[in-house]
Symmetry: C2
Amino acid sequence: VSRHLLDYGDPLGFMPLREAIATYLREARAVRCEAGQVMVVSGSQHGLDLATRLLLDPGDRVWLEDPGYLGARGALMAAGARLVPVPVDGEGLEVARGIRVAPDARLAYVTPSHQYPLGVTMSLARRLALLEWARARRAWIVEDDYDSEYRYTGRPLASLQGLDRHGRVIYVGTFSKVLFPALRLGYVVVPPALVDAFAAARGLVDRHPPSVTQAVLAEFIAEGSFARHVRRMRMRYAEQQAALVEAARHKLDGVLEVSPAEAGMHLVGWLPSGADDRAASGTAQQVGVEAPALSTFRLRRSGRCGLLLGYAAWAPSELRAAVDTLAAALRCVRS
Amino acid sequence: VSRHLLDYGDPLGFMPLREAIATYLREARAVRCEAGQVMVVSGSQHGLDLATRLLLDPGDRVWLEDPGYLGARGALMAAGARLVPVPVDGEGLEVARGIRVAPDARLAYVTPSHQYPLGVTMSLARRLALLEWARARRAWIVEDDYDSEYRYTGRPLASLQGLDRHGRVIYVGTFSKVLFPALRLGYVVVPPALVDAFAAARGLVDRHPPSVTQAVLAEFIAEGSFARHVRRMRMRYAEQQAALVEAARHKLDGVLEVSPAEAGMHLVGWLPSGADDRAASGTAQQVGVEAPALSTFRLRRSGRCGLLLGYAAWAPSELRAAVDTLAAALRCVRS
């Protein structure tokens, strides 16, 4: 083993991996970056935690998608932020609403490629409005591109970061979804002006990521295995999603409205208006089906109820069986 | 590969590794712990950062050994602590002085087994006084046992944690010194009452440590390879230290006073009174010898000057050659 893989390493990560990630992100996500801006982290949660600690002071207001990702909410609360829930519609985060409610927010957390959990893609108009607000107010945007690899129709969408001309976007991604969570490797693309500050902070937090796993992953990407893996999984997940959608249309009609999605690893099943999604989720859990309630991801108690249906971890036959089970259980409750 | 090594894991770490660490610490360090109290972290810096974030509020006062470990200083400053430097004498941290200056401190950071950088072992009387202060004031003690494995004379000393009967000590250790830094694995032994809080915080910070390296290390410890490695390295480092001490006595007499140490991976070389250790360290660096100035580890501008001489990374012949080089360079400066 080379000595440089044993000794303390660069706080931003192993350079060959940072180069492989930069190349991948430029090509696949239109991220504008050099390897020097890439910080390797232990998954996206680690990236969110580092970014929010560094960029926020206690009491700072932060826009948060509502409904939104609970891990981001936790990291922001740990940093002492005051959360400003901003609703999400068919075009993504309602930027105008955010500006009306909290124009002076210091940061906005968004999942523009595939909103978590609703699955919406943020429109170009909204992206430009968000970037313009950040530029004018010198606010930061954290773009969490947690499952961007899995887009099934058309070309993968460009990242929000790729549209940024003023260094306001911190782009966060992870290998947890596309490879496996226990790898604990993700990345943050940092605006050039923040690179030194991130490196210094990282040194105090946990010094640097483990070198051997970084070296293995760098090789895996460089030799093309990563790209092959993504293509193969994309085909498999598309089949699994199709199986889930078809089974749901046959078996869950009138109980749960499930539409196909262009991207991601889960679908939203909408419940009839007036239904209680936490009760429905509890019923599902009792028959062995994990289907989190959409309302648990909401900060405000409003909006239509639904269930999250993950399909990445199961074969089509397993998904069909789960839909059968779920249909029987939910119909029981209704009647 | 088992599925549980791929999916999200326990925020406190992989249970077989936590069990192996608990067994090792009970036997080798007289730490009082169950596996459930062990949190696997990415090295001791990560443990210090997690502990200080969780236990301190901005503005809290903290006792810090002076001179002391710079990484701890950085983590404490990042947590917003007000640093209270407490001098170290031949018995370790001067507890009575700490109580006089800042009785209401919320935390004390200490390296009782082998003070960094002076190499002193904290006396039993001081340990008991420190624990009594923490009990009475409900303060926390962070015990950093960073190189406890390498003790060359007599039995390894018991940990401070092993004397604690009131759950005030957070014990931090690392595999960086005894295996290799780039592994990024260390551990924190948490008082039972804090385990749930540490687990919740960890989930928000970076979720959990990488599973595969944890599984490999658990196996390495369980099969006895770790204990063999420590014994072998302990013999090798003892020889290296002896070579350094002997060479220094012959070649550095009157320039640098080097005494043997019972433990650790470095010695302190004391400069004649009135000498400037930063200048001497600069001279050493110019001839290719890394010997950090003791004064860089001090918060107050007082105390005798010296150089830190690490010996773990070099063979006896390399150490002798380095002493020759250093002697020539330092004599040049003096004359």
